[in-house]
């Protein structure tokens, strides 16, 4: 059980998918414009990554080496499609922003790279713990980024106004501001990581 816990913490913090592995930046920036869409995207990514890890590690002996890109894309896109339809049914108001989730799920390098690097080489239990760690790491990052962007850029949090409109900076809603926030958070993350003993990249 100890190794599974190690894998989980590694995925969550020391090997964080966004800040260390540079994965999944595209959906992170596209969906973090408001807290609600960030929450939906984070949860969808978490579930899709979890199910993908089960499928890929369970089927890893049957996937030929020469067709990995195709099979991994097919698995994760199929699960993303199912997640998307479910989310649209549960939250009809978010259907407009979810229409873009599927093309971006295809481009989400989180699934393909983690499948290639970890799930195709390990059993189900380590794969699932890695998926939970990486998914939770991605979720936390997208929640922090989206709440910062919404508060700074629009002055609201989950739709409730907390800062008057005159004091907002619309730049943070644009991709440039998103990149800036992710970059600054990444610097902070590296600082904390070196302080807690991990090696900075």
């Amino acid at each position: 059980m100890k190794t599974e816990l190690d894998v989980f913490i590694k995925g969550l913090f020391y090997n964080n998918p966004v800040f260390v592995q540079i994965l999944g930046l595209t959906p992170l920036l596209v969906f973090s414009v408001s807290f609600i869409s960030g929450l939906i995207c984070g949860l969808c990514t978490f579930v899709v990554l979890l199910v993908t890890s089960c499928f890929v590690s369970g089927l890893r002996r049957y996937i030929p080496r020469g067709s990995r890109i195709f099979v991994f894309t097919a698995i994760s896109a199929g699960i993303a499609l199912a997640a998307c339809i479910t989310a649209c049914a549960l939250v009809p108001s978010a259907a407009d922003s979810l229409i873009w989730f599927l093309p971006f799920a295809g481009v989400n390098t989180l699934y393909s790279v983690r499948s290639e690097e970890f799930y195709a080489r390990n059993g189900i239990l380590p794969s699932v713990s890695d998926a939970v760690g990486c998914g939770a790491g991605f979720c936390i990052v997208i929640l922090v980024v989206s709440s910062l962007r919404e508060i700074l850029g629009a002055g609201t949090f989950a739709g409730i106004r907390i800062v008057s409109e005159a004091r907002t900076v619309p730049l943070f809603i644009s991709p440039a501001g998103g990149l800036l926030i992710v970059g600054l958070l990444c610097g902070l993350f590296n600082y904390i990581r070196t302080k807690t003993g991990g090696k900075a990249k």
């Binding site: 097919a74 790279v113 290639e116 990444c186």
Partner: protein, 193 residues
């Protein structure tokens, strides 16, 4: 001028890297070396062209007849990734030496290209075949432009005194943010009427 302005708008004002963050992963992971990142952008352009052609043909002649709606994108994604996989496999066999150097990033660039192709197909729904393909090519060219500029900026960053915690990815992200800010300046570009 009728043809120059749409090209300029797609390349600069609607640069996919900086306005929609598509292709950022591949860009940030590989922008260490200008030559490698240029080759990777070429692969992105190539696979986006393949994907857009697949997507157009599949959509026009097969999928639009069934009224699939949302599931359509899934099927297009499958077709594109299958074709890209074939191309990658044949490349691996033909240029084994070159594949080793850019090998790990190849699937990344290919997947990015696929997404660009699909996005182009969705965005330009209803346009003619050559217009769709040209649009996909211009998006790919925009990614190439962005990766070249970012590569040059990062080469200069390497010789400057960056605070310890900001070395590596953080300073890359902040430089990309400033570049995106710069590209926002082009957003006023519009067709002269």
């Amino acid at each position: 001028m009728k043809y120059v302005f749409p090209v300029l708008i797609t390349l600069l004002a609607e640069n996919y890297v900086f306005t929609r963050a598509i292709g950022l992963d591949g860009l940030l992971g590989t922008s260490a070396d200008r030559k490698t990142s240029f080759r990777l952008s070429l692969i992105t352009v190539f696979s986006s062209l393949i994907s857009v052609i697949c997507a157009y043909v599949a959509d026009k002649y097969f999928l639009s007849r069934f009224g699939l709606g949302y599931v359509k994108y899934f099927i297009v994604l499958l077709v594109c990734s299958a074709v890209v996989q074939c191309v990658v496999n044949s490349m691996k066999r033909k240029y084994p030496g070159r594949y080793v150097k850019i090998g790990p990033y190849l699937p990344l660039a290919a997947v990015n290209g696929t997404a660009i192709g699909i996005m182009a197909q969705i965005t330009t729904a209803g346009l003619l075949f050559w217009q769709t393909v040209l649009y996909a090519f211009l998006i790919g060219a925009g990614v190439t432009v962005a990766s070249l500029i970012l590569g040059v900026v990062l080469e200069n960053v390497r010789y400057s005194d960056v605070p310890g915690a900001f070395r590596g990815l953080p300073i890359t992200l902040v430089s990309a943010a400033l570049l995106a800010l710069l590209f926002m300046g082009f957003s006023g570009l519009d067709l002269p009427v």
